[in-house]
Subunit: 99 residues, 2 copies
């Protein structure tokens, strides 16, 4: 899978992935919840989706905060697989009542 | 709860918490698993324990790798609560068949 170039990524984020940014390596977004239980419940939903797609995030959690970073390691860049997973993650965030 | 001093922390880690290190702010340990499912299953067990104790890790995950960092934010240091949770985490790692 071919990596997207910087212009393609930033244009797509601006149009379709509100809240995501590109740091040159990863597309990433910060999510915030009421507490740890809500944050980890969201992570569990994302984990199931990631495993189903066999495409996994680099992420961290601190109490009610979750940061998710996506890139396609095998392609050494951001690809359509990341865009696709980011859109799923946003849907899960919306259905958590937060997004 | 009073923070432990550096000597107390490093002595305790050397004696009782093999694999953990102190970086001046956090005690931390890296864990490795066969794949994402095993890594996230371990995280779920740790999440339940953390919520039960109302003491939560700062942690990150990348596919089969989990890094856990512990400190007591309210005490601005490492306390007995972190030592206690670290011991629970090691038990969970052992019972996952990895530790």
């Amino acid at each position: 899978m071919k990596p997207l170039n910087k212009d393609e990524i930033t244009e797509f984020l601006a149009l379709h992935l509100n809240g995501w940014s590109f740091d040159g390596n990863f597309i990433k977004r910060d999510f915030e919840f009421k507490n740890f239980v809500e944050a980890f419940s969201f992570m569990t939903a994302v984990a199931l989706e990631a495993e189903k797609k066999d495409h996994h995030p680099d992420w961290n959690n601190e109490y009610n905060k979750v940061q998710i970073k996506l890139r396609t390691h095998s392609a050494d860049g951001v690809t359509g697989k990341d865009i696709d997973l980011a859109q799923n993650i946003d849907s899960l965030y919306k259905s958590s009542g937060k997004g």
